[in-house]
Structures are given as structure tokens and as C-alpha cells.
Symmetry: C2
Subunit: 249 residues, 2 copies
């Protein structure tokens, strides 16, 4: 029996999950998706994702793939079929058949994350799990002076967690910018790949330096120093969204 | 000892509450606010609100008032003081002293509600508790033809729940309009007061008539008929926000 390789683009509210990756204790997105597939197949079907998001991190465009022998469901109807087995906080947006060797993680050419900041005099409860509240009036043009330092190929050791076991901490960032979106300031960053918690560390450091009035030159110095001690506090998970994953094919 | 009358503007995420009004079972906003005040005073302090929102309904500008003998807290610091005793899903935005006879409910001159619709090909999990997902592509100009029928003084019996015990079902609506806001279509309605579940019934009926291609003339006929049978299904609570309350003084 031939198996189809199905790609599904999924979205989730990270608030109720201990991240993407299956673990012994706690609910995970991978766990819920594999449970849905198990109900449909009668046996366990492993799922791969482009980005293994942390606990509390949301996704608007996570990409997963899995192999199936179920012929009764057309490839583009897999999203709908999955949704009838998934809870409301994780849903498939679309689905299609991809080449047999397509791998959602290894084939990803770039990942885009967004970090949402909500600026106001006081925190608004409905935003509390979806954007970081910041009291100070931030200037987007000024924030973009920091963002520009990130663009290009850099060793991001400063923004890596100490126990990061990546072979190299060099990453290539093709775009990084802040923009206004209604009551939010959004940090948009695209790169081939990211170190664990790197986006949150970048955001936390920029906010801290700006608060201290240190400026983008100091940020560049910290980035180039490659010393974790230079980084500010890691920004919380709930402001972060895996926004988009790009592939060549 | 003289008591000050404190007005506080508060905001809450209705998802975790069984509405505003205290009840035997289930968590309520009134219950949480009165618990916070009890911790500060050592005894129960009753609180009045402008609008008794239903279970799941959010508030961006609910207004409450209560009387206090605590002299240690300046009137404009009550918001901050309350927040240190309140959970993250209900927060005070501002506070100030008001005349001794100010009553947040009876003195309200108008209330403004907003209803959020999220239009897309598929539901997005992060919006699921904050906007009603609608699949059809709605036309804001067309929706506003319905909204215009609501403006003015009308008997809203069609949009009242059968057990509504109001003395009169005539209400005066000063503005009603739909507008786009990012990925949302927002219904904005201001009136002196509203019948119980009236806004949700208006929204549900407009969506149903538009889906069936019936048009604003049919909506006007249903409104004027004063017959509950004419109304569509009541739109769900999670799309509704108490947005603003106005006072003469």
C-alpha cells in the first residue's frame, strides 16, 4: 500500500500547551495532533513540525507533515478532517500532498516569527496571553535602529541559552523590523533558522537597552561580543508567534 | 468617619467568568472585585457596575463604584491598589473620587458595546474566545444598511428574551455601525440602555438574514413586528465587549 506524504499548515493558541514537542507530563501540540491522527488511523502516526515552539508560544503558520495510507480523504480535505478531531486551540488551516521525501523541518528555507508588544498606560486583560505589555512609550523608528543591527549573518551566541547544543551559533537573518499594527508594536523577523529562545532574547535585550537609554550602538557591541552576560532578560513566551515557514518547493 | 465614593473603570476577559453578577456557583467579576476589596478593608464592600455583562462577555470600559473609609489610598491610586489584589483577567484602568450620590448604573447616560467578527477561510485559534468566526465574505457597506434600521427609538421586543421583565422594551439607539479593524469586522452600538442579550440578538439576526439573502428591508419588518419568532439565533457571548459608559457628570 502506498503512503501519501501530507503537509498541513496549522495554527494554535500556545496558552494551553507545554509547547510543540511531546513529553511525559503536560499537554503538547504534537501530542494533540498525533492523538487526532491515531483516532483516524487506529494506530500512532508520527508528525514532524518546522519549528518546535516553546511552552506558551503561539503559531499562525506552523507546518507539519505526516505519512498516511488512508485513501478515503483527499489531500486537500485533510485539514478539515483533522479539525473534526482537534480541540479549538489547535486547528489546521490547509493541507496538500507533497513529494515523498518532503520534510517540514529539514526542508524549511526560512522561518518568520512575530513578537507582539502592547503599549498602554495599563495592561488590558484580553491581551494578557497574546502580547507583552510595555508601559513606556516606544518609538518604532528608534526600535528599527536596533533591528537593523540583526540583519545579515552573525554569530548569535549572545542570544543563545548556555545549554544550546547547536553545531554553530551563526544564523542568517534576512529581515528584522518593528511596525505598528493597531494597538500593538510588532517585531517581525525572518531567518534560515533560529537558536532556541533567540527571538525572545533579542526582543528582551532591545527593550532593556532602550529603557536604559543605551541605544543601538551598545546593542551592536553586545551582539558582536558573543557573551551571554550582555543579553537582557528573555521576553516572555506569550508575545511570540511562529508566523510563516518558507520552502523552495 | 466620612466615606469617599470611588469610581473605577475596569477591563476584563470574560472567558473565565460566569458574568458580572455574583452568584452561588461559579466565578464572577463582581465576586473577584469584592474579594479584592474585602482583603483591603477586612470586611465586605459592595460594588455596583454600569452593565451586568453575561457569562463570556468581555469589558474594555466597564464602570464600577464603591464607598470606602480607607484614607491611606489617594483616589487616583485606587486602580493600582486594586490591581495588586486582582487576578490578571480583571484589571482596573483608572480611578477617581465622584460625588457622594454617583451611581455607576443609574447615572449612566449611554452604554457602548462592540461585537467582533473574524472573517476568514478557517478559524484562527488565538481569536476563538474573542471574536465570532464567520466564513462568508461579508460586505461592510451592506451590513451598515441593516445597522441604520436600528438607529433611533424603537420597541426592541423582537430582540428581547421572552422572560425579560423590563417595564418597557423601548430603547433609544444613538449610533449603530459596522467597520473594519484589521482582520475583524466590528459592530459598534451606543444607546441609553439595552435589553438583556439585545446586542447579541441584533448581530445574530443581521448575520442570518444576510446569509439567507433577505436584506435590510426584511430586517426592518422583523424589528417593527415586535415578534420574537422573527429573530435569528443569538450571537455567542465571546464576540461581545462592553466598550464604554458615558455619564453627564
Amino acid at each position: 500500500m502506498s503512503k501519501r506524504n501530507i503537509r498541513a499548515d496549522i495554527s494554535y493558541d500556545g496558552s494551553g500547551f507545554c509547547g510543540w514537542q511531546m513529553q511525559k507530563n503536560g499537554r503538547t501540540v504534537q501530542g494533540d495532533v498525533e492523538k487526532a491522527l491515531e483516532k483516524m488511523h487506529g494506530f500512532r502516526v508520527p508528525v514532524t513540525a518546522a519549528g518546535r515552539t516553546d511552552s506558551g508560544v503561539h503559531a499562525l503558520g506552523q507546518v507539519i507533515n505526516f505519512r498516511t495510507e488512508l485513501d478515503s480523504i483527499p489531500s486537500d480535505r485533510w485539514a478539515l478532517a483533522l479539525n473534526s478531531y482537534l480541540p479549538g486551540d489547535v486547528q489546521a488551516l490547509s493541507s496538500r500532498e507533497v513529494p515523498e521525501d518532503f520534510h517540514s523541518r529539514y526542508d524549511a528555507r526560512s522561518r518568520t516569527y512575530r513578537y507582539y508588544l502592547f503599549q498602554g498606560p495599563v495592561p488590558i486583560p484580553v491581551y494578557r496571553n497574546y502580547a507583552l505589555f510595555v508601559r513606556k512609550t516606544l518609538d518604532v523608528r528608534r526600535l528599527n535602529e536596533y533591528a537593523r543591527c540583526i540583519i545579515g549573518e552573525h554569530d548569535f551566541t549572545t542570544f543563545a541559552v548556555p545549554r544550546d547544543s547547536s553545531r554553530t551559533r551563526v544564523r542568517n537573518i534576512s529581515s528584522a523590523a518593528f511596525f505598528m499594527d493597531g494597538p500593538f508594536i510588532v517585531f517581525h523577523i525572518e531567518g534560515t533558522a533560529f537558536l532556541w529562545r533567540m527571538v525572545r532574547s533579542l526582543v528582551g535585550t532591545i527593550l532593556e537597552l532602550e529603557k536604559q537609554g543605551k541605544g543601538p550602538e551598545e546593542f551592536r557591541r553586545i551582539l558582536e561580543a558573543g557573551n551571554r552576560q550582555g543579553a537582557g532578560a528573555t521576553a516572555p513566551a506569550w508575545g511570540l508567534y511562529l508566523y510563516k515557514v518558507r520552502y523552495d518547493r
